[in-house]
Amino acid sequence: MATQEPVPESESAGELDRRRFLAGGTTVAMAGGLAVAYGTCGAMGGRFLYPARPAARRWQFLARVDALADGQAMTWKAPTGDPIVIARRGTSGEAEDFVALSSTCPHLGCQVHWEGHRNRFFCPCHNGVFDPAGVATAGPPAQAGQALMRFPLRRVGPLLFIEVTLESLGSEA
């Protein structure tokens, strides 16, 4: 091989450039390969830590549409054990007549409870107050213009359906 021979003066500069280029290129390629490999592992780790699927939801049968008259309310127990208050405010016979209020505070997720003597829902965590329709009237939820969450309702023929989560905590068992 020619590289074993002493390089003539005129060629040495070009040869050195080429060597430096090759050495630099190899280093960059190796470092890049490592970065890509570790980056892929990191991305896989991150994806592994992120929850695999959203919480399972399903449309559940709730009641017959004519089970509640206008102005009436009932409590329905969800599959997870949550009591859900269903109220009817209308006579159109559509799902819009009904309201299914969640007892989960829209502020930071605590459970509100009904205070009959004050005609309001109260959240003990940060003093959120809601009127009977679920609209926030005081506290941080009112400042953010929030209301108690409502479960989606759907009417199929004479039957009323509600969309709820199915998963419950281990403590239920």
Binding site: A55, Q111, P124, N127, Q143
Partner: protein, 353 residues
């Protein structure tokens, strides 16, 4: 071959060299007790690691088993009540010690150039300490643990843009679920302590490289007195002995607290009922009160801004001192900050809602 020579051949370090490397001259003002506050959280951190490893032998991180395993530790395992008490009170004292240490550094200006980076590492350590307190409190799986974790995760949710993502990452789902507790346990017992150990090594190394801040106290006594008295004393044995005494006092204090006010257990977590009176641990009172005063997003953003300001304070303070060299702004800002934190904490402690 003597045992000493045998050992030296295998560990080729000269004890003299080792002594020289570690025996840093310590400025005289360190003899005052409040300058031991940096060593205090480090000592308590070791207590937490030891007691934490012991507790982890029995703890089971799942909603079905967690509460029962903590009850077993508390009521049945030999000395379990004592170790749990040490761990609980160690956490309380550690947070208090970290806050006191930070106040000492702040009000003596020890964060100033060239020690800005160490202040910032300290701020990350503070955040880690608060997070490790939060996740640890959640592990007991009593009512307040559960609702504290729920509120904490939803606070993360209130952060614009990245909120939903970080909440799901923290809880392992959209809400608190069967896989949540094991995440908290891994954060509490592996991830956060690991980060803290690495940061502590850098923190202490930077202190040793820079040396402890020296003070130019007002020269009432004149230059002659300065020359008479040595300005430094030895780390070994003088300062090591001081730290030893601090460690002993802390152990007595911890043991007394763990015995006189043992760690108790509230009712088991119930995802359907939020207790009528709900409070986080005392060190989150300030944030809990702040959250009651405005919408969640406003509260989260303002608290984030305060933390950011604290994080970059050395540079902000440097800029102010360059423009107004005689300014005492940082002292007044610090006094205001401490009063605000104490005020909000006392307010939250004084009322039920």
């Amino acid at each position: 071959m003597s045992l000493g020579a045998w050992f030296k051949e295998r560990v080729p370090i000269d004890p003299g060299q080792l002594r020289e490397m570690t025996n840093e001259p310590v400025p005289n003002h360190i003899k005052a007790w409040w300058w031991c506050l940096g060593g205090t959280p480090a000592y308590l951190f070791v207590v937490q690691i030891v007691t934490g490893i012991l507790l982890a032998f029995y703890y089971e991180a799942s909603p079905v088993t967690a509460y029962e395993s903590v009850r077993y530790i508390t009521d049945e395992a030999a000395f379990g009540w004592f170790l749990r008490g040490l761990h609980k009170w160690g956490a309380t004292l550690m947070i208090a010690a970290v806050v006191l240490h930070q106040m000492r550094v702040y009000f003596t200006g020890a964060y100033r150039r060239p020690r800005e980076l160490n202040w910032m590492i300290g701020m990350v350590l503070l955040v880690c300490t608060l997070m490790i307190g939060f996740t640890g409190y959640s592990l007991v799986y009593e009512q307040l643990s559960f609702w504290g974790a729920t509120v904490g995760a939803n606070i993360a949710d209130s952060v614009p843009v990245v909120g939903g993502f970080s909440k799901e990452l923290l809880l392992g789902g959209e809400t608190y679920n069967d896989r949540t507790l094991s995440r908290f346990f891994m954060l509490h017992a592996a991830v956060l302590p690991g980060i803290m150990i690495l940061l502590l090594i850098v923190h202490v190394t930077l202190i040793r490289l820079h040396g402890v801040t020296e003070f130019e106290f007002e020269k009432k006594k004149g230059a002659a007195t300065d020359a008479e008295k040595p300005r430094f004393f030895n780390f070994f044995p003088d300062h090591a002995m001081t730290e030893l005494i601090v460690g002993l006092v802390l152990m007595i204090l911890l043991a007394t607290l763990a015995t006189a006010l043992p760690a108790t257990m509230g009712p088991k977590a119930d995802p359907l009922i939020t207790p009528e009176v709900i409070k986080p641990e005392w060190f989150f009172y300030v944030a809990f009160r702040w959250l009651k005063l405005m919408s969640a997003t406003a509260a989260v953003l303002s608290m984030g801004f305060v933390f950011f300001l604290m994080f970059v304070w050395p540079f902000f303070d440097g800029w102010i001192r360059k423009r107004w060299p005689a300014s005492e702004f940082s002292v007044w800002a610090g006094i205001f900050g401490v009063l605000a934190i104490v005020g909000l904490t006392v307010w939250e402690a004084a009322v039920a809602h």
